[in-house]
């Protein structure tokens, strides 16, 4: 069903009027309450009054993840701490987290967006939904949780890490919906298959996100579990999950344009792309109070269409993601930058600067392997010393990335040296095909 028909099915003219009014308000809010934006706008000779509507969006400065990091932790917040009711955080490129904050109103809008997603997937008050995203600083667990409660569904807050218990409850409670990463859902499907329980479960819908996945993965999930799988997109800087999601037609993800103003730009020239052309998704928040962001560069590559969808919604749709305009990897829902690995290894000081990240999917779970060359200065003829070193490297990387890592020692000079930019990553998962 369409949860908020007024907003999801607005005419383009009405929507532009709403977006323009909200943009003006947001620009004024950040100009008066966030020093970072005031300075940036002053440098560009801009005053809030210069922004008369969304047609002036291109005049505004961009915001990047680096800006969030440089203003760690609360520098970009636009309200006093007394109005912040929650913070979330995700790992940053150099170990410093990216911190985001929410007012009570922000949380309400977030849950409204997630509720729209769940309703779009056909979930309602008669459904029992297992939320199997991580609960905590990660936005996945609590984001889906609040949205599902707001919808009125029965929420089972599983979090991650105990597949056996999840399966037991799925069967015993006759769970009808699940929210988790697509790779985890495939893993759950395999466990169900092994236990011969595939025909005992009552799942009808799955809300999958937090990592890129392919159309083939959707088909595999749908066939194995006999359900409908939906794609949900989001990023904590903008909101968390619930920025966009797809409907039963799976022809792109509907982006909630009444709250998020999308643009597609060429990541090199920063010029806008034509409708349908692939570029970087840039989002301006229109209603956020605690952390309003102007033209936030998501680094996600996609395209956009403004054509109304067969489902009846008129809001724009973004296409399946084609990759990233930076080198960020998403592994088990965790953002990983190769530079984080490099920084952690350098800090350890015991390995060579030559390393290779190999990301693969084994039994539908992402595995991160890091190959490190055994160089003369830490070579030992005692295997226990080499094993201690491996454990030490794995430990350092695990705490830096928040992800378990398999460390493999390799012979010196076996990692290819390339001229110019070194090839540091082999991603065997083929998620953008």
């Amino acid at each position: 069903m369409i949860w908020n028909e007024t907003k999801e099915c607005m005419s383009r003219d009405e929507l532009i009027n709403l977006q323009s009014a909200r943009l003006k308000k947001t620009v004024s809010h950040v100009y008066h309450n966030v020093e970072f934006y005031r300075k940036k706008m002053q440098q560009l000779g801009l005053e809030p009054g210069d922004i008369k509507g969304i047609e002036d969006l291109h005049k505004l400065p961009f915001t990047t993840k680096d800006d969030l990091r440089e203003n760690y932790p609360f520098g970009l917040f636009a309200v006093p701490q007394s109005q912040i009711v929650r913070v979330h955080a995700s790992s940053g490129t150099t170990g410093k987290a990216t911190v985001v904050g929410y007012t009570r109103r922000d949380i309400e809008i977030w849950q409204e967006c997630v509720t729209r997603v769940l309703a779009m997937a056909g979930i309602g008050i008669n459904d029992k939904i297992q939320v199997a995203y991580g609960y905590g600083l990660f936005t996945g667990g609590l984001g889906l949780h609040y949205g599902a409660e707001n919808l009125g569904a029965t929420v089972i807050p599983m979090s991650t890490g105990n597949t056996k218990r999840l399966i037991t409850m799925m069967e015993d409670f006759e769970v009808t919906a699940i929210a988790c990463t697509p790779s985890y859902l495939l893993h759950i499907a395999e466990c169900l298959e092994e236990e011969g329980k595939l025909d005992k479960i009552k799942l009808k819908a799955a809300i999958c996100g937090a990592e890129p996945w392919t159309e083939n993965m959707r088909k595999e999930i749908e066939n194995k579990l006999n359900l409908k799988a939906y794609d949900i997109y989001g990023l904590s800087e903008i909101l968390g999950p619930g920025v966009a999601a797809d409907c039963e037609y799976h022809k792109g993800l509907h982006i909630y344009e009444d709250h998020f103003l999308p643009e597609i730009i060429n990541p090199q020239t920063l010029e806008p792309c034509k409708e349908g052309e692939i570029g970087e998704l840039v989002i301006t928040t229109l209603t956020k109070e605690a952390l309003p962001l102007l033209r936030y560069r998501t680094k996600d590559l996609t395209n956009i269409t403004y054509k109304p969808c067969e489902c009846g919604r008129t809001i724009a749709r973004i296409g399946r993601f084609k990759g990233r305009s930076d080198d960020m990897l998403i592994i088990r829902g965790v953002n990983v930058f190769p530079s984080q690995v490099e920084a952690a290894l350098l800090e350890l000081g015991e390995t060579s600067p030559h390393y290779l990240l190999i990301v693969d999917r084994v039994n539908n779970l992402d595995v991160l392997e890091i190959q490190v060359e055994v160089e003369e200065h830490f070579f030992s003829d005692e295997i226990k010393e080499l094993e201690n070193l491996t454990k030490k490297i794995a430990g350092v990387l695990q705490s830096a990335l928040g992800l378990s890592v398999k460390v493999t020692l390799v012979e010196p000079k076996t990692i290819a040296r390339s001229e110019g930019k070194a090839k540091r990553v082999i991603d065997k998962r083929k998620l953008y095909e």
Partner: protein
């Protein structure tokens, strides 16, 4: 005295061990004895060779992680209980053995390569108990001499 063992890190890849032996053969370096320890991902080849310094040099040239480690070669009589006696002497001195393997079994004595947690202390207690150790030259050539 201490002798030099040549240790090489080898990835578990087809033909890699053979690459090592080929390098040594091409440089006319004799392997007196060796031990190969394996883990899931890599192996550690430890060798007593005719010329350890040269062995390390040529292996490094060929891109291997090779290094020299100090070990001792203790001579023990070929009769029941002698190995146990040696280990007991080391244990009583508070030493642990990291690894050991046979250097030679020809002749009247067997010689055993050992890496103990403190090699100098190991030498001291073994000598105090009347055990002989091989000199470096003796160890590197031990099986050549025996073959003559």
């Amino acid at each position: 005295m201490l002798i030099k063992q040549l240790s090489v890190f080898i990835e578990n890849k087809v033909g890699r061990l053979e690459d090592v032996t080929k390098v040594l053969k091409d440089h006319n370096i004799n392997i007196a004895s060796f031990s190969l320890a394996d883990t899931a991902e890599y192996g550690m080849l430890r060798m007593i060779v005719s010329d350890p310094e040269e062995g390390r040099r040529v292996l490094r040239e060929e891109g291997f992680s090779a290094s020299l480690a100090d070990v001792i070669a203790v001579k023990i009589a070929q009769k029941p209980g002698t190995l146990h006696e040696v280990l007991k002497i080391l244990f009583d001195a508070g030493l642990s053995v990291e690894y050991m393997y046979t250097l030679s079994t020809t002749g009247k004595d067997t010689s055993i390569i050992m890496k103990a947690s403190d090699l100098n202390l190991a030498l001291e207690v073994l000598r105090a108990n009347g055990y002989e150790v091989c000199s470096d030259k003796e160890a590197y050539e031990i099986n050549n001499i025996n073959n003559k």
